[in-house]
């Protein structure tokens, strides 16, 4: 789902770039609340893992492939804003080094995959968790379902951008149907990979899963409410 240069016109690409920069600034601010001593290195690992798994295109119907976007996966493991930074970093490196995703389209891609898919997908995850029993397996299940939905959300974001600034006259209705159709299938793969990955971390180190931190026994917090001073490492 990496948009190349040229699909979307310059004004819409630039506007998306501005929105992406603004949201990234918010993410940096919010991430400092999510990142504790343990989650910072985990976030590095999550970014690297998303890079690797994004290379693993799996076949879906009719000569088409899909790959993990990773927004919900990252959000559930390290927090939505930290996760969005992970995805944005992956996209930046892919665009600059691997010629994947146009540089003028970087804002569009960050917007779609890091924020619509990641932060938006995390909101879906929260909503799903809200109606499920508060157990660890349900956190894993909710992450898988939300991940699948997040891919469709990101594909709709692309459609809106194409509708606003597509450079070729095509039938918008068929583009919408085709985008949502194929990304529903890709979403199934996204859901399975997210389910398996979050499930694996939950099995080994449940304390590292941000999206399930409410299930852990309460941490010892100082009366002032300050969590472990990070510099104490």
């Amino acid at each position: 789902m990496h948009i190349p240069d040229g699909f979307i016109n310059a004004p819409v690409s630039a506007a998306a770039g501005a929105v992406a920069i603004g949201l990234t600034a918010v993410a940096v601010k919010r991430a400092s609340d999510e990142l504790d001593e343990r989650r910072a290195p985990l976030a590095g690992l999550v970014a690297a893992f998303v890079f690797a798994v994004q290379m693993l295109n799996f076949p879906v119907a009719g000569g088409t492939s899909g790959h993990l976007l990773g927004g919900v996966l990252a959000a559930v493991l390290v927090g939505p804003w930290t996760g969005a930074i992970c995805i944005a970093l992956v996209l930046l490196i892919q665009g600059l080094v691997f010629a994947d995703g146009g540089l003028s389209a970087l804002g569009l891609n960050v917007l779609n995959m890091a924020f619509v898919g990641g932060v938006g997908g995390y909101a879906v995850f929260r909503a799903i968790r809200g109606v499920l029993p508060k157990t660890k397996p349900m956190v894993v299940a909710a992450s898988g379902v939300a991940a699948g939905i997040s891919v469709v959300m990101a594909s709709i974001a692309f459609f809106i951008e194409y509708w606003l600034g597509g450079t070729t006259e095509v039938s918008l209705r068929t583009v919408f149907a085709a985008m949502v159709g194929v990304h529903t299938l890709i979403g199934i793969g996204e859901g399975i990979i997210t389910f398996l990955t979050v499930g694996a971390v939950m099995a080994v180190r449940p304390d590292l899963v941000y999206g399930g931190r409410d299930l852990l026994p309460a941490l010892t917090v100082t009366p002032s409410g300050v969590t472990t001073p990070g510099g104490a490492s």
């Binding site: 693993l56 146009g102 299938l185």
Partner: protein, 119 residues
């Protein structure tokens, strides 16, 4: 009761990170050459709907690692796998720096009494 020995915890975390990195490197090197080379969802839609032609050549399309291959490595699988390893290392390194800086900055703000330092 919950006084987890911090050193033990840190050791476990280090093991987890090393294990996770090994899995990640393994996926990048051994599995990426097996990935489907069919166009991805967006690419396929752009071909079917007739707007694939509007894509411009990539700015760094001639770069040494363009399209997940290492320039000069003949064996296609090896080329893909090596580019995966390089990408994982770059991404991990960049992310550790970025998140380290965010933590340092947050710590500084916290020490300065919460909100003041706008630098």
């Amino acid at each position: 009761m919950s006084t987890t020995a911090p050193t033990r915890d840190r050791k476990n975390l280090a093991l987890f990170l090393i294990g996770g990195l090994l899995v990640t490197l393994g996926l990048a090197f051994f599995v990426s050459p097996l990935a489907s080379s069919s166009p991805d969802g967006l690419e396929k839609v752009s071909i079917d709907q007739g707007f694939a032609g509007s894509a411009d050549d990539h700015t760094v399309g001639d770069g040494p690692l363009a399209d997940y291959g290492v320039e000069g490595v003949e064996d296609e699988g090896l080329s893909t796998g090596l580019s995966g390893i390089i990408g994982v290392v770059i991404t991990f390194g960049a992310a550790m720096i970025v998140f380290g800086l965010i933590r340092v900055q947050a710590e500084r703000t916290r020490r300065a009494g919460g909100s003041s330092t706008a630098a």
